[in-house]
């Protein structure tokens, strides 16, 4: 890594962000903190899917499966053994998992690794397939993971799920994991490795002709994406404190896909932006499910479920009218921000001179 001015400014900004977050509970309400955490986690998920789909062009619909693996692994790691013994009422929990007790950071990494290994395992059959076939196959794998989790009662507590997971995912932890994800994926994507990935995305046959080991690169990208999906799942499980197999259904994958599409395929900052906007929007849309009262004249009763209708219409609108998303494949960079302010400055200066 070269240490030039940009790197330095980025590091300073990250540190400033961390410093801000340590003080955040002073001026943000609990609800706002909750949303902020959810945003960091969603950003991790969006970044990881963007690596797989946006940069390598593999249409994967298996994200919820990887998240489920990460979430379960981490939950099993951080729950105290005696609590686990009490909770597994259908069948007692089996040995290595009953004694497992690790610190949170290790649990998150283990969650990512489980997803990584599983991705490696399914990559061999699945990644031979082209776009929408790959989508269906990965969707199938995600469903298989869900069925396995439901039935592996001695490990996962079956359909009852796991409750009371300690909330170890603090605001700062989520933030740091998001930065790790961002930096790792940015280093992958904007290095030579990333050039290869983009080459595969844009023309697989040309890549093959140039002697690139297409399959190997695809597997690498897929597994790294799955690792961070597992990490995101681990954080999400701890954040929500309850997980069950039903939660990790296709709709969850769909939500992550929407962060990526809204932000722009092939734009990392776009993914973060998309995750942020949609997370906030989904919370904000809760308002329309509340009863509304216009100046005491008209009263509209709350309609449960309306939020999702509005949400899906918005997504349809994005796809139909702005297919490339907010950022397209551009990035927000320091140089770009600098240019923007310089242009703004010259414009104001010009106006003053007149």
């Amino acid at each position: 890594m070269r240490f030039n001015r940009t790197t330095f400014i980025c590091l300073a900004l990250m540190a400033a962000g961390a410093l801000f977050l340590t003080q955040a509970d002073m001026f943000l309400s609990n609800y706002q903190l909750y949303i902020l955490k959810l945003f960091f986690i969603n950003a991790i998920l969006a970044l990881s899917l963007n690596l797989i789909y946006g940069f390598t062009g593999m249409f994967s619909l298996g994200h919820a499966g990887f998240m489920a693996l990460g979430a379960y692994m981490a939950a099993l790691c951080i729950l105290p053994p005696e609590q686990k013994e009490m909770m597994w009422i259908l069948e007692p929990i089996i040995w290595p998992f009953s004694e497992l007790f690790t610190p949170f950071w290790l649990a998150v990494i283990l969650g990512g690794l489980v997803a990584f290994v599983f991705a490696l395992f399914i990559a061999v059959p699945a990644l031979r397939l082209g776009d929408d076939y790959l989508g269906i196959a990965t969707l199938g794998f995600a469903e298989i993971i869900r069925v396995l989790l439901t039935n592996a009662t001695p490990i996962t507590n079956g359909s009852l799920g796991i409750k009371g997971i300690p909330d170890s995912a603090t605001l700062l932890t989520c933030y740091v994991w998001m930065l790790i994800t961002l930096v790792v994926i940015a280093r992958i994507v904007y290095g030579n490795f990333g050039n290869v990935l983009r080459c595969i995305r844009d023309n697989e046959i040309a890549a093959q002709v140039m002697g690139i080991n297409v399959f190997g690169y695809k597997v690498m990208s897929f597994c790294v994406g799955a690792f961070f999906a597992g990490v995101g799942g681990a954080l999400l499980g701890s954040h929500l404190s309850t997980i069950d197999p039903k939660m990790f259904n296709f709709l969850l994958t769909f939500q992550v896909l929407m962060y990526v599409v809204a932000g722009g395929l092939g734009s990392l900052t776009g993914s973060i932006l998309g995750a942020g906007i949609i997370t906030v929007l989904l919370e904000w849309l809760r308002a329309i499910e509340e009863p509304m009262d216009f100046f005491g004249l008209v009263e509209i009763p709350g309609i449960p479920g309306m939020r999702m209708v509005v949400f899906s219409v918005l997504l349809l609108a994005i796809i139909l009218y702005r297919r490339e998303g907010i950022m397209g494949s551009r990035e927000i960079t320091l140089a770009g921000i600098g240019r923007f302010f310089r242009r703004l400055a010259t414009r104001t200066a010009g106006r003053e001179a007149q």
Binding site: F59, P125, A126, R128, L129, G130, D131, D132, Y133, G135, I136, A137, L139, G140, F141, E143, I144, V147, L148, T150, N151, I205, F250, L251, F254, L257, V261, I303, P304, G305, M306, M308, V309, F311, S312, V313, L315, L316, I319, L320, R323
Partner: protein, 297 residues
């Protein structure tokens, strides 16, 4: 397993297989003409089932009338979905259309939750369908014989349309080469809309029979049958109607028979279809009857 039990399972499997087959035909037809996985297909099935529910319960129509009304309503919905969400994206990358399809599916589901509420509702079963035939000790629910027969009739009608009429010819032409078909003077847009109408009508027919067989309707009832029927379409070879029927029946038999013979596997029921899918995609990605679609360079 006793013989009478086997017969019962056989008819159950045939019923489930026919239902999958009817849904799978819709997927395979749309994929044939547009190369698009119509994710909203399963939800059209759900809407069809709801229409029948409202026809019989709310308006008090007789079964036959509300079933026909439901099929017509669902095919209109299918055409509408194509017009609003797929046609503007026909020149776009295929993945955009796929995401649009997922968004439409999500939209129909959440709208159904709002309009119909999320509560599952019971469906009225006509008496003549839930009575039983009895041969010796074998009891067979009339419904489990009615569904395969009805399916056979619908498939025969569809094959007639496809192979004996002008619109059917145009559909087959579009699936070979859309541009040339347009140049030959076929109104491609109308034919594609017609494809959606036929596919959605079959999905609605399947949804109605599904609601009769498992007598309740709820907004998410279309998801699993839809996914599994898509698997059936892939197993049979996507783009081939006969393949979809065969794939659907295979899937129905695997699902019912494996649980009949190994009851301890019943928890894994939903995984069978996807395991078959993965196996087929690995060993014969074009499916049983599928044509080898060459990727254009």
């Amino acid at each position: 397993m006793s013989l009478e039990m086997f017969f019962q399972h056989f008819f159950n499997a045939l019923t489930l297989g026919s239902l999958y087959a009817l849904i799978a035909i819709g997927y395979t037809m749309v994929y044939g003409v547009l190369r698009l996985i119509n994710f909203a297909h399963g939800d059209i099935l759900m809407v069809g089932a709801y229409f029948v529910f409202f026809g019989t319960f709310a308006f008090g129509w007789p079964w036959g009338v509300s079933a026909i009304a439901a099929v017509c309503g669902a095919s209109l919905l299918g055409v509408l979905v194509e017009r609003v969400a797929y046609r503007p994206l026909r020149e776009a990358p295929r993945i955009s259309a796929l995401i649009s399809a997922i968004a439409v599916s999500f939209f129909i589901e959440s709208l159904a939750v709002v309009v119909f509420t999320g509560q599952p509702r019971p469906v009225l079963q006509p008496d003549w369908l839930i009575s039983e035939w009895q041969w010796g000790r074998v009891h067979i629910l009339k419904l489990t014989a009615f569904v395969p027969v009805m399916t056979a009739v619908l498939v025969a009608a569809l094959l007639y349309i496809l192979y004996r009429t002008k619109p059917g010819l145009a559909m087959r032409a579009i699936s070979k080469d859309i541009e040339t078909t347009r140049l030959m003077g076929v109104r491609v847009d109308n034919i594609i809309a017609f494809t959606f109408a036929v596919g959605s009508a079959l999905a609605a027919a399947s949804g109605i029979m599904w609601a009769l067989r498992y007598p309740q309707v709820h907004p998410y009832m279309g998801i699993m049958p839809g996914l599994k029927a898509f698997v059936a379409a892939v197993v049979g070879g996507i783009g081939s109607v006969q393949g979809a029927v065969i794939g659907g029946v295979i899937l129905g038999f695997v699902e019912i028979m494996s649980i009949a013979f190994f009851p301890e596997l019943s928890g894994y029921r939903d995984a069978f279809a996807f395991i078959i899918l993965v196996l087929v995609l690995v060993f014969k990605p074009t499916g049983l009857l599928g044509e080898n679609l060459k990727e254009k360079i």
